[in-house]
Amino acid sequence: MAQEYKLILKHADESGYTPDIECYLRHGGYNDLKKALAFQTKTLADGKTQSPQEQLRQEVMTSNLRGRGGAGFSCGLKWSFVDRKSGKPIYLICNADESEPGTFKDRQIIHKDPHQLIEGMIISCYANDVKLAYIYIRGEMPEGAKILNQALKEARAKNFLGKNILGTGYDLEIYVHRGAGAYICGEETGLIESLEGKRPYPRIKPPYFPAVLGLWMCPTIVNNVETLCNVKHIVGMGGLEFAKLGTPNNTGTRIVSLSGHVKRPGYYEIEVGKATLRELLYDKNFGGGLREGRQLKAIIPGGSSSKVLKAGEKFKLKKKDAEGKEILVETDMLDLPYDFDSLAQAGTMSGSSAIIVMDDSVDIVNALANLSEFYAHESCGQCTPCREGSLWMNKTLHRLTHGEGRAQDAEYLVKIADNIPGGRTICAFGEACSWPVQSFVAKFKDEFIAKGAADEERHSKEVTGHN
């Protein structure tokens, strides 16, 4: 039976565990930082030398850590893109703008174990020669900002931050910046614009890749809260050891935010890929099953922007047979291992690892209308397809859920949605707002048509009645 594996949340929920530095230190806090700072220049077999920073980055590369923000991009690779020869300062930004509907994992870390994040950040900054870092926290988390500021103060007092950290000569300062309440601020270049004091309009790439032209046009690393926490553990246990957690290419642990129609919604930390969706929904260690008498209807597996999975859907997953040959195995959606690659093979994504469960009490058209309203409200409006398309879909869905639908609206919605994603927009918001529409309508087309047709029929009767 699948079990929770608590790495990041090891202590967070222990009774008596408090977010202050003394408690953190009692639990071995900042030892990994000390370990990182103690790395010495190493001479390799080929005679080349490797600086402590290069070794730390190598550990992260070896760990195969993938970003926990949503895209699942290799953290080590991301760091390797940083332009270290520009002569400009390198910045690191912790993306704590956790805004994806259904996601509430970073908040747990910030509220319950802020020093773990700070330690992860200091190590990451040290590994990347960063002298100034920011935590960009969403505006709706005032409590989190307060906790982080307190924690930073404590870390400064203990000389884990500031000038000449622990006598190593390394200087680092971290500031907390609160957003003003916009989903798009979680997009890394939008976040950078916001941090610079502007509207969070995501930047065009090329040329504005953060690793080269980020904050203040300097090389910048933007990492998710959970990702940065993982860096601490990678240093603690070593990259190779970390890579043994989870499954190959899907290493480490993930905190899953489970919400919706399960008995035990909440956050659960698992080894990546070591639990299936079925286990996460039904095991008593996790969701504990659906409400009595209800059937599963759909799962949104990775935050509201990921494509929906319909109950009973089957996918062909690549697997290796006993002889190591690659074979395709038909897999029920519930038997998908919860990791990056399996969900990608099922045409969706594990995104920010937020699972939203919907049982048969859900009106799927209403559910999509709800999501669509969110995306129409949150589109920054910079580029055409998303700005106009997101509101258009929302208006259509509003009509469809308020008795003004048409049978053709299912087709109509997909056609609108098809004009938005696939590189037509500046940032991934285009995908985020159109994927739910595309997938909901594709998988529950009958319900959309039925709803529109019912409205049409009622209207035609009303018209006849007047005659």
């Binding site: 409200h377 589109s379 920054c380 258009w392 609108i416 004009n419």
Partner: protein
């Protein structure tokens, strides 16, 4: 002074490496680097390569003179790059051509740099579909009020809808409503519903005019261009936002509802409000001028002009224009007046004639005047106009042809230095005849001359002592001007002249750019282009027979004046030639 004439200074492209790309299957060599909006050499983008390949890529937000933002998504294209094998070496097709790996995602051609061997596809079904999608999106909330929109006829939304759009819309929802007829500032109106949020106006105002006055408020489809509350959009370059606006969102208060764009005749001309000489297009219909818009000239004004210069045309249509030839207050004919003047000048004693010409006159006119000057042994000068300069275009010298006056010998480097000598000469009775062109020389109590309401004030240096009383001492006062003033009132001969928009000619701007301008409208009444009657006068007085066409006149002048050596009227082209001054 050197006689070398140069055309526009371009970076030596030969020094820049050229790379081969294919646009819709056609191979073209393009420079690896091209000057960006700020003039800095940056990697050539796909849209620039397509432009060099003469392939149209529709675009709204991209403007060659503005920073790239890539927000309209109209210029999306598909592309491919040479495929590389696992060994990072190029892979070849069986026929030996490089194998091209087509990108699974499209790219905005305005911001994507080209690379060697890249293939750009602008005509694929996917590109067609993406353009249709963007246009449909832009139109769903657009009011479609073309019949009452000033931009109609020169609107990119109209043009691209015809070229790349669909014939009907699927949209059945309610449109977003936004503010209309918003008074953004003294010269600009905004219709936010027509706006496609390309942000060209914001970028022009921030990055070119240096005024962070415009921004966007609200979110998503409700985004709206706005100024800061209570702060009007009012710098000297606001009207350029109307030019860069691809749709009818920003309109000029001066031009809106005055004339349909397609009725306007466009004439290439030059602004005369200062020594910069911004290239303009005069939009006129039936001998009436409706607007000036800037014309591209990278050597002078890029694509911009100031609001003051742009609106400085109303005086041309003033009802009190000088329209009649007057001899001692009586209406006369050109022939009679010119004969009388010619006789007087022919009999004038050497040194008894003075000439005050204007640095608002053309090179050709000043050159003809200089002919008279040398024949008559006359003393001459013109009147300086000095005002404030700015960092972008406006020059402190408010005369459009100060250098022309200097080159033709009408004035010294320091203009106005002879005025005292002229007034002394009149006072002493030595100077008996004064010829004045285009200047009100009577000393005024106020040394300011307002070009027009609310706009730039140019100051006339008023150190001379020429008064009405002094002018009364003259035997003969010959005045040519466009508008009546104190000097024309005192004149024995009034010769009505033309505004630059009513004639042809050339100016030499503050930096030595010789630029020609064309005739947009007819002059009123008997008014005649100065160079025409000056030619007659010079012929009568000196016996020299010059040229009766402006081309011939210019070319003759260029032969005689070293600074213009080698330049011809034809060589001036649309954007002029820079000479060493």
């Amino acid at each position: 002074m050197s006689t070398a004439a140069t055309t526009e200074i371009k970076p030596a492209l030969t020094a820049i490496e050229h790379i081969k790309v294919k646009v819709d299957g056609r191979e073209i060599e393009v420079p690896r680097l091209i000057a960006d909006w700020s003039g800095k050499l940056t990697p050539t983008t796909m849209i620039q390569a397509c432009e060099l390949a003469k392939t149209d890529v529709p675009h709204y937000c991209w403007h060659p003179k503005l920073p790239v933002v890539g927000n309209c998504r109209m210029c999306l294209v598909e592309f491919g790059t040479p495929a590389l094998g696992p060994d990072r070496k190029p892979v070849f097709n069986p026929d030996g051509t490089p194998k091209i790996a087509k990108s699974p995602r499209p790219a905005i051609s305005c911001a994507t740099p080209i690379s060697p061997g890249m293939e750009i596809y602008t005509k694929t079904p996917a590109v067609k579909q993406m353009r249709e999608g963007v246009l449909e999106s832009l139109l769903i909330n657009h009011p479609l009020d073309c019949p009452i929109c000033d931009q109609a006829g020169e609107c990119k939304l109209q043009e691209y809808s015809v070229d790349y759009g669909q014939s009907s819309s699927r949209f059945v929802e309610t449109k977003v409503h936004k503010p209309k007829a918003v008074d953004l500032g003294p010269r600009i109106m905004l219709d936010a519903e027509r706006c496609i949020l390309c942000t060209r106006c914001i970028r022009f105002t921030r990055d070119i005019a240096g005024d962070d006055a415009l921004g966007i408020v609200n979110r998503g489809s409700y985004n709206t261009i706005a100024t800061f509350p209570g702060i009007p959009f009012d710098n000297n370059y606001t009207l350029n936002t109307v030019d860069v606006c691809p749709v009818g969102a920003l309109t000029s208060k001066d031009f809106r509802f005055q004339m349909r764009a397609w009725f306007l005749k466009e004439t290439k001309s030059v602004c005369t409000s200062c020594a910069t000489g911004c290239n303009v297009l005069i939009g006129s219909r039936e001998e009436k001028i409706f607007r000036y818009t800037p014309r591209d000239n990278d050597a002078v004004n890029a694509s911009w002009m100031c609001d003051a210069g742009r609106l400085n045309y109303k005086w041309i249509a003033r009802a009190d224009r000088l329209k009649e030839v007057l001899v001692r207050g009586q209406k006369s004919t050109w022939k009679a007046a010119l004969n009388e003047i010619s006789d007087k000048l022919k009999n004038a004693q050497a040194g008894s004639v003075a000439i005050i010409a204007s640095a608002r006159q053309t090179n050709e006119e000043l050159w003809l005047i200089s002919k008279l000057k040398s024949k008559l042994g006359a003393i001459s000068d013109s009147i300086p106009r000095v005002g404030e300069a700015d960092k972008l275009l406006v020059s402190a010298d408010k005369n459009p042809n100060t250098n022309g006056a200097r080159i033709t010998g009408i004035c010294f480097t320091e203009m106005g230095i002879n005025l005292v000598k002229i007034s002394d000469g009149i006072a002493s009775g030595k100077i008996k005849t004064l010829i004045v062109f285009g200047e009100n020389i009577v000393k005024r109590a106020v040394a300011n001359e307002k070009l027009r309401e609310r706009e730039t004030v140019s100051e006339v240096v008023d150190e001379h002592a020429i008064t009405a009383e002094l002018l009364a001492k003259l035997d003969t006062l010959i005045v040519s001007d466009i508008l009546p003033n104190e000097t024309t009132k005192l004149a024995h001969y009034v010769l009505p002249g033309c505004a630059p928009a009513e004639k042809r000619g050339s100016f030499t701007n503050g930096k030595g750019r010789v630029q020609k301008f064309m005739k947009a409208v007819e002059a009123p009444g008997d008014a005649r282009a100065e160079w025409e009657f000056l030619h007659d006068l010079v012929h009568n007085v000196t016996g020299q027979n010059g040229f009766v066409t402006i081309e011939g006149l210019f070319n003759q002048m260029a032969k005689e004046i070293p600074v213009f050596m080698g330049v011809t009227w034809q060589a001036l082209g649309d954007t002029g030639v820079t000479v060493q001054i």
